[in-house]
Symmetry: D2
Subunit: 160 residues, 4 copies
């Protein structure tokens, strides 16, 4: 199972349509990516201090399947799809959280609300020019890819 981060919907996330504003799913995905990176030992603020580099997003693709509403509890996943020397492709899904109880709008547990593919690149923080990932960071993603591939042909390649 991929990394999953819980998120609760607050007033700030919704719009006058009564549902979560479409841009905010990118916020939720960023939070989940940040926590996923942290779970791998990658603290972005610290890394910037040490290496002078930051991640920036270069491409996003989102499909919106079902709307989320105020008070909803969600899970946002993150999993590595592809790792290069200067960029990563990350797959993310926003699911309803099975622990959610007594919700006025009953979503089934793990209903898929939104799914996305995010490409992020590593850049120099001062010039924003693309740069190679720091070796310590690359090594982490290479290990992830090896684990995934060694899982054998019975498993989906996109599931670590």
């Amino acid at each position: 199972m991929s990394f999953a981060f819980p998120i609760r919907i607050y007033w700030e996330d919704t719009d006058a349509g009564g549902i979560v504003f479409y841009a905010n799913y990118l916020k939720f995905m960023e939070r989940a990516r940040t926590e996923w990176l942290r779970s791998l030992g990658i603290a972005q603020q610290q890394l910037r201090h040490e290496t002078g580099g930051i991640f920036v997003v270069s491409e996003t693709q989102l499909k919106y399947h079902r709307p989320a509403r105020l008070d909803d509890q969600l899970l946002v996943t993150a999993e590595l799809r592809q790792a290069g020397s200067a960029s990563l492709i990350i797959g993310q899904r926003v699911l309803s959280n099975p622990e959610q109880k007594n919700a006025p709008e009953n979503l089934p547990a793990h209903a898929l609300l939104c799914e996305g593919t995010i490409r992020i690149g590593w850049v120099d923080a001062a010039t924003l020019r693309p740069a190679r990932l720091p070796p310590s960071v690359s090594a982490i993603f290479e290990r992830l890819v090896i684990v995934r591939n060694s899982a054998g042909p019975g498993l989906s390649t996109v599931k670590p």
Copy 2:
């Protein structure tokens, strides 16, 4: 000690000054108020379905003492200051979280970053006209006030 809700700072919360954008403290305070209400048994979405009313903010006062930064872990408190038949005054503080470790910018534990006083009123969701709080909700706040007053001098369970 008053109710306290943990919040982590993500990229979305910061601005080009390298710190949290000033309006976002109102988001954090709203999240904490929502969870404080939930901890008291008040679910806003459900209450709207049942009573046709919602809370709206009518007044805010904020003082910004120290800036928060990316990756910071905060605690946002909420405590009842005053309860009327149609409105409440809530005191809130944003503090650095003592569990925060290895932060590049070392804030002392429980350093006060921001404090606010928020007045919220109860309105009809359709007309937005002020209305009396539902009795079930009023009763909860009355109990809180009684607990606070009976705590006596020396204790500060729900007192600032």
Copy 3:
């Protein structure tokens, strides 16, 4: 030339990387789509009152080419790519505005910062179930498609 809407970058739009936060381009594109629809005679709030329907986004694809910064002046375009009975595909670009003067970071006029493809669908506002576009709205998009096709090769007035 497609519809273009001017946008200025404020503190709220930026993040601690010193550039515009990636989710905010979806805000800018939504503003430009709203004004584009308004320029075609489609006022969303009024339409909701009259028909009970609203537009919701079902798919987005964004490519980020160059970052925007505080004080930058941008143009956000919107043009119809495809019109169906219940959904539309809209192409959008975020460009530097040629009227921008004395900017610290000199972007060339009309430099492409971000481009996106947005699919929007028409839904019942209460149930959020997909529905056919109101005939008055469909007629507007059909006229646009005809104008585009009759423009012939060599012209690109409303062509992607």
Copy 4:
């Protein structure tokens, strides 16, 4: 009449209550302050490059009188209330724009929706420590105060 900046309400500004989310008035006020400063010849990004300093908000007080809704057109004012060597107090109002036509919710022209008092200080951008305003900036605010005071005793001091 004080400086006034037009703002249109988009989906991003609203919440599930059908009205503008309370924190967003601080965004609108920041936009108006930025344009007011620009109208006085103060470009914040350029000033940061030249002096190493930025404005930060140290205090806000807001009163919310009437809600704004999707598609509403507003005017946000900004006027100097007080100028010190390291900080300013600015009065701001959010009004309905008299040019707004055919709005579903008819607000009277110049109806007061929200009013605020904002204290901003000048800080070193690197350390965020308070600092004296650059002389070129101070001179601008001193001239404003003189103009205001010379307007005579019949006029309110806080209304230029």
